[in-house]
């Protein structure tokens, strides 16, 4: 009897391997390396706390294009990796925490906690070079920011 697919076993294995490799290449690494910065924005030239240092010039420039504050000072910085399906909680200050979940394909869910209560939850893709910022105003026309970005590998 003539086979419909000649060399059936070999062909099938090749096709399966090809699709498996494609899927692996497509998904890439499922781990996501992120950086979270707690930033304080003000129109004053100097921060209230002299220990605070200025945020990286490039990031500052980007913040200035979309936000009204003139100067941005870094309060805290955390680098961390989030594995797919394993949410990661990161403490930014005594009252501020974030929890990041990796959904794969650069899609993340970020929960922002203030004094232990979840304030906001945001789900979106974060591409390399893009910033996801959580912000709110503070006293004396200042503001706080949690700036999330992918760290360069």
């Amino acid at each position: 009897m003539k086979k419909i697919f000649p060399f059936g076993g070999i062909s099938l294995t090749t096709v399966v391997l090809f699709f498996a490799c494609s899927c692996l290449l497509r998904s890439g690494s499922t781990d996501l390396a992120l950086q979270a910065q707690l930033v304080w924005g003000t129109n004053n030239d100097k921060p209230d706390d002299p220990k605070l240092k200025e945020v990286d010039a490039k990031v500052t420039e980007r913040l200035r294009t979309a936000l009204k504050w003139k100067n941005y000072f870094e309060v805290n910085r955390q680098n961390f990796t989030v594995h797919a399906g394993t949410p990661k909680k990161v403490k930014m200050s005594d009252h501020c925490e974030i929890e990041v979940d990796n959904f794969g394909n650069s899609s993340i869910e970020v929960k922002l906690y203030g004094k232990g209560k979840m304030v906001v939850k945001k789900t979106q893709k974060i591409k390399p070079g893009e910033l996801l910022i959580f912000a709110g105003d503070d006293k004396n026309d200042t503001a706080w920011f949690v700036v999330l970005s992918q760290t360069e590998k």
Partner: protein
């Protein structure tokens, strides 16, 4: 004075359309009645004048050929009309298809152009489903906006609601 019926009889007699009995009666009438005779003479004169001066048209070809030529011309025109109608029907089918398809294409282009933000412009809140935001606390509100120019998404949290 003769009536209209008699006038018609006289005309028919002159044209040779009456039976022999009727023709005899009209002859008697025109012999004895002066008015009838006068009308008959007048009609006779008129007929002779018309017959003598009527233009005789001679066909350049035989009678059969002449009429067959006319028939062929009629058939040709009818065929042409039928072809024209078929072409019109075919083109109207395409028009029926192309008109709505064209309108739809224009509509799609307009929608795409309308939804497309100009390059460099800032887009408020992403449109795709990958962006979700949730604010569980009642005393807190939030909104998000995206700056394509700065490559950032900002989630603004407002905790001063009254």
């Amino acid at each position: 004075m003769i009536n209209h019926e008699t006038e018609l009889k006289l005309q028919a007699y002159l044209d040779g359309e009456l039976s022999s009995g009727e023709a005899k009666a009209v002859e008697d009438l025109s012999t004895h009645d002066a008015d009838a005779r006068a009308l008959f003479e007048e009609l006779k004169l008129t007929k002779s004048v018309l017959a003598e001066n009527e233009l005789e048209v001679r066909l350049p070809e035989s009678r059969g050929f002449y009429w067959s030529k006319i028939q062929r011309q009629i058939e040709r025109e009818e065929k042409g009309r039928a072809t024209e109608q078929t072409e019109t029907a075919a083109s109207s089918w395409w028009l029926r298809f192309l008109a709505p398809a064209g309108a739809l294409a224009v509509l799609v282009v307009l929608v795409v152009v309308a939804l497309r933000a100009p390059k460099g412009a800032e887009t408020l809140v992403a449109l795709d489903g990958s962006h979700e935001i949730e604010t569980p606390l009642e005393e807190t509100s939030s909104f998000s906006f995206q700056s394509e120019a700065a490559g950032m998404t900002v989630v603004w949290v407002d905790s001063h609601r009254e």
